[in-house]
Amino acid sequence: MENILAFIYEYREPIFAIILSIFLGIEVISHVPAVLHTPLMSGANAIHGVVIIGAIIVMGHAHTTLPIILGFLAVILGTLNVVGGFVVTDRMLEMFKKKKK
């Protein structure tokens, strides 16, 4: 029990950020029109590609062969998520824009 309390105490700042982010995420998109559900999902999909930073850190500190290979793979996967996600979202939204003319 004391361990758990100590853990929460030690990580109070990220925990704080997590709680606020949860409410922020709910607040930010709760009034989205149905038409935008898909681009929004796709955009959010691209944003969680931020996991690539973790992949870069792992890869950047890998010294032996297996971690380097896995890290390389992780960076590629993360990049796919980021680039693909943003480009697809942009393509979807481009169509929405064209219609407005």
């Binding site: 361990n3 853990f7 990580y11 997590i18 982010s21 922020l24 995420g25 709910i26 930010v28 998109i29 709760s30 989205v32 029109p33 149905a34 038409v35 935008l36 898909t38 929004l40 999902m41 955009g43 959010a44 999909n45 691209a46 944003i47 969680h48 590609g49 931020v50 996991v51 690539i52 930073i53 973790g54 992949a55 850190i57 890869m59 950047g60 500190h61 380097i68 896995l70 992780a74 960076v75 590629i76 996967l77 993360g78 990049t79 796919l80 998520n81 980021v82 680039v83 693909g84 996600g85 943003f86 480009v87 697809v88 393509r91 979807m92 169509m95 929405f96 824009k97 064209k98 219609k99």
Partner: protein, 470 residues
């Protein structure tokens, strides 16, 4: 040292850009800029991580390889995202989502020995170990689930509807929790000895991801993708927690919570509960409707063209069938032809028509249908009683009157496009197959309904020729 300052500030900025970007994405006018803004934040975070990140005083190494991986990923991601057809968008989102999940899982696997080294020796409970195991499990489930969702939408994987599968799934969830508990209680052993168990956990999580998505089908796919999307967000956030990285943490959690809300909103649009979607009990039921089935009346191509050509007001209700047949351009052509003849043509857009919300908007926009012709459900419903002809192209459940008048129907309560109120109804359909909900559609037996069987593309092609020669 100045590098570390810049890095942390860039993370704060990236977090702000993610938040603002997401906010802008939820309004039609600002959506595109919002997406670009978030991308800028991402690019900045990536760049400064490579330049300035330090772990225990050690800078990022392997930079040529990292850059190579970035280039490979960018080229493939860019090409795939640019080349793919608009109709294949949902599976593409799922595919990219899976990549993120796999990335998070890989990070967890690789960092486990380091984290466990610090965490497991000393204490009974290690939040760090719990965090990394959660990242592994959630990332793996997200990856495997997204791949299955991709396969399903692509038509490579079929539905697996077995009643007892949900018990297997619940059992697996218990096993996953058990294994996590076991690893955490291993205590004073070398992290390398724990690795086999960690790999086992990953395999179970992957299997769970597969079985989790297997029973869910067709129209529910967007909900599942959205859910898996928020999973990946959480997996990314565990990475942020691991590295004490603010950009990853806020980005991940933001997507996790926004994704969850979006999932719930999607469920609401279909009048279903999330649990209902996950357990996958849709389909069947609606016995009453099955018994009352009357006779089907067909209509010939030439009759259809005459009916359309001499109408004043026509409403087209597109559905998934239109997307499958890739007939959106022909549909637009027919619309233009009719407009030339003085017929007013509008499209009735059901929010969940197709395989993702907004699917029809995207599809018709691809065919250059103008924005003001697309009318949302509530608005068009009041116009339908004055409409001469409603043409339903490849839509089914979204026009099923059972949603209004058959309390025993599984779709009862779902808002629909009230096509049955129009003076004439033409249903273009491949055959008498049922919609995703696998229930009979009483609209087809309505006195005012005429069926036009055949592939939507072929039928529309003939209609266009016929209307031209009127």
């Amino acid at each position: 040292m100045i590098g570390s300052y810049i890095l942390e500030i860039s993370y704060i900025l990236a977090s702000v850009l993610f938040i603002v970007g997401l906010k802008m994405l939820s309004h039609p006018e600002s959506a595109r800029r919002g997406n670009i803004l978030a991308a800028v934040g991402m690019g900045m975070a990536i760049l400064f991580t490579i330049l300035f990140h330090k772990k225990d005083g050690e800078a990022i190494g392997n930079i040529p390889l990292i850059l190579l991986a970035l280039v490979i990923g960018t080229i493939i991601g860019w090409m795939v995202a640019k080349k793919v057809k608009m109709t294949a968008m949902p599976q593409l989102v799922s595919l990219f989502n899976g990549m993120g999940g796999a990335c998070a899982a890989l990070i967890s696997v690789m960092e486990f020995p380091h984290v466990a080294h610090e965490g497991m020796y000393a204490e009974m409970f290690s939040g760090e170990v719990l965090n990394i195991l959660l990242g592994l499990v959630i990332g793996s489930v997200s990856f495997a689930g997204s791949m299955i969702a991709f396969g399903k939408l692509n038509g490579n994987v079929g539905d697996l509807r077995i009643k007892w599968l949900r018990y297997v799934n619940m059992g697996m969830l218990v096993v996953i929790i058990g294994v996590i508990g076991y690893i955490m209680s291993m205590g004073n052993i070398a992290p390398s000895d724990a690795m086999p168990v960690v790999y086992t956990l990953m395999v179970i999580a992957l299997l769970y991801g597969v079985l989790f998505v297997m029973p869910i089908g067709g129209a529910d796919m967007p909900v599942v993708i959205s859910l898996l999307n928020s999973f990946t967000g959480v997996a990314a956030a565990t990475g942020g927690f691991l590295y004490q990285n603010q950009a990853m943490l806020t980005g991940g959690i933001l997507v996790g919570s926004a994704g969850t809300i979006l999932t719930v909103l999607m469920c609401k649009a279909m009048n279903r509960s999330l649990l209902n979607v996950i357990v996958g009990v849709f389909g069947g039921g609606g016995e009453a409707a099955n018994q009352e089935a009357g006779t089907i009346k067909e209509i010939s191509m030439s009759d259809t063209s005459v009916l359309l050509g001499y109408s004043q007001k026509v409403v087209i209700v597109p559905g998934y069938g239109l997307a499958v047949a890739q007939a959106q351009h022909l549909c637009h052509e027919l619309e233009e032809l009719l407009e030339e003849k003085g017929v007013s043509v509008k499209y009735a857009i059901h929010p969940v028509a197709g395989r993702m919300p907004g699917h029809m908007n995207v599809l018709l926009a691809e065919a250059d249908v103008s924005y003001d012709k697309l009318v949302e459900m509530d608005e068009i419903n009041s116009e339908l009683p004055q409409t001469d002809v409603v043409i339903i192209i490849g839509a089914n459940d979204v026009v099923n009157p059972a949603a209004e008048n058959d309390p025993s129907s599984p779709i009862y309560g779902m808002p629909i496009i009230k096509a049955h109120l129009a003076k004439n109804i033409i249903v273009m359909k491949r055959g008498m197959g049922k919609g995703y909900a696998a229930i009979e559609n009483m609209l087809f037996f309505n006195d005012k309904t005429r069926m036009l069987f055949g592939d939507a593309k072929a039928s529309l092609q003939k209609l266009v020729t016929d209307v031209k020669s009127l």
